[in-house]
Symmetry: C2
Subunit: 326 residues, 2 copies
Amino acid sequence: MKIGLDIMGGDYAPAEAIKGVRLFLEQSHDSNVHLVLIGNKDAAKPFMSELEPFQGRFTLVDAPEIIGMHEHPTKALKEKPNSSISMGFGMLLKGKVDVFMSAGNTGAMLVGSMYSVKAIEGVLRPTIASPIPRLDGKFNLLLDVGINADCKPEHLVQFAQLGSLYSKHVLGMENPRVALLNIGEEEGKGNLLAQSTYPLLKECQGINFVGNAEGRDVFTNKAEVIVCEGFAGNVMLKMAESLYDILAIQKGFKDPFLEDFNFEKYGGTPILGINAPVIIGHGISHALAFQNMIKVAEKIVSSNLTDLIKEQFKQQVDTPTEAANN
Amino acid sequence: MKIGLDIMGGDYAPAEAIKGVRLFLEQSHDSNVHLVLIGNKDAAKPFMSELEPFQGRFTLVDAPEIIGMHEHPTKALKEKPNSSISMGFGMLLKGKVDVFMSAGNTGAMLVGSMYSVKAIEGVLRPTIASPIPRLDGKFNLLLDVGINADCKPEHLVQFAQLGSLYSKHVLGMENPRVALLNIGEEEGKGNLLAQSTYPLLKECQGINFVGNAEGRDVFTNKAEVIVCEGFAGNVMLKMAESLYDILAIQKGFKDPFLEDFNFEKYGGTPILGINAPVIIGHGISHALAFQNMIKVAEKIVSSNLTDLIKEQFKQQVDTPTEAANN
């Protein structure tokens, strides 16, 4: 498999991106995994000696242009065809890489995902998901965490399907339980969206729906997949991240559960429901985040997640269900 | 002032309620503050010796009936006129107490607030607010935290007004800054509700609007009042409470910031925008929570918060603004 990584993306690129590649290659001995590093050759040069011992396991593809973190996404992608992000999407579309990821301009990554890679047929809204640590050391999945701020019930049903596939095939959860994020335990509770979504989730085939999850349940083993619209998901995620920052970084508390809040442990946020795997990294990624982002990419590709999603939604398009066609 | 407390409310009542009263009376020496304890005399009897040293500073009012934690609110209030909650609201309406609070059946407390005490003229939706600890030891105010799951922009504007008055007069914040909870920093970001609310908050007179606050900002000193609909507010609050439970209670981390997440420190949730002060306590309140709930009640009454709210909304009714009449 060919894993495409933008080594120019993120505040500490290319140095930390290349260090992350080294960490990955040191640990992984699978000769089937070939890394395609996309970035400005001159900028990368001072750091490439890091990869000296791993010749043959990676290719450096020169992308002379650079998209800055704050450039206008659509404009930048159009005007800089030789940037690492533009070239990465180009290679992904041509099958020259099996997955593409970047910790660079998030907007450009989203635009490329939505308008170049595009949604899988039947998927109404691609979504982004975040692992949420839980006390037993495993990870739940919360989605959507920010790109779908206003949702209809049928979107949340699809998030449940997409999240279930991801939880099972990438996070390794068997028969993952799905819960609806809500502000009460019983059916009928919540806002209009939650009230309308609950019965659809109950009827939805192929997911293991277990009812509502409240804010206090996200870190427990009540459900492996927790679905919500992107507004609530995003404020919860950012609040959790800020508590990690305060307690673990600023105050120095040491604890395995708390440490799992460190996004660098899982590296990046997958976009689910598009025609090829894309992972968006955090702008402040260090080597550990890049290493783990590559690991996640490897899992996504080896699990054939995208094909599994296509298969599931193809069935829905062929056999329309209420949820998918409302 | 007369502070009405349901001593039968909560999982550990009446023992912990009465202990909380003792803690309060030990600390407070203001002879103007008289506690009106409402509850079943027989149930209270074994614990009343706790209050022996404070004769004259409290009155026990017998309320022979008891509303259980899980009874149907409307039905229970109607069928048990001699319960502590029914009698508490009755005394509040007749002016026999200046504030009423209970850690008992939350539904009954809400029904009594909405249908007996009722919304202040001009207030579209009474709201519940929660103090949120911040790093400097002060408290921000998040509202709504759960009774208004679906909101319109004009509701959020009123929450901003109600929250500002509470923050200033009860939490002691000078010229409290108001922020809109959102999933981006700039105007125009967010879901449809946030996008429509932002310009109204900008135009709203008498509040100190400073823009958007993201999930990561709630514990900082970016804004003292953070407004949102009750769905997001509730999931954030419950998530924060669960982290306190995990980190401070289960794992035993000691830290002043973390300790401020303990709801017992502020005791209860005020209902803002109704014609007399009501505070709802947590079902699992212990003595500390009752003590602090009484302290908050004392502040609410001595600050004349309800009159200040009435005054502000009277002006709005007299001089209709766009926000109040949409």
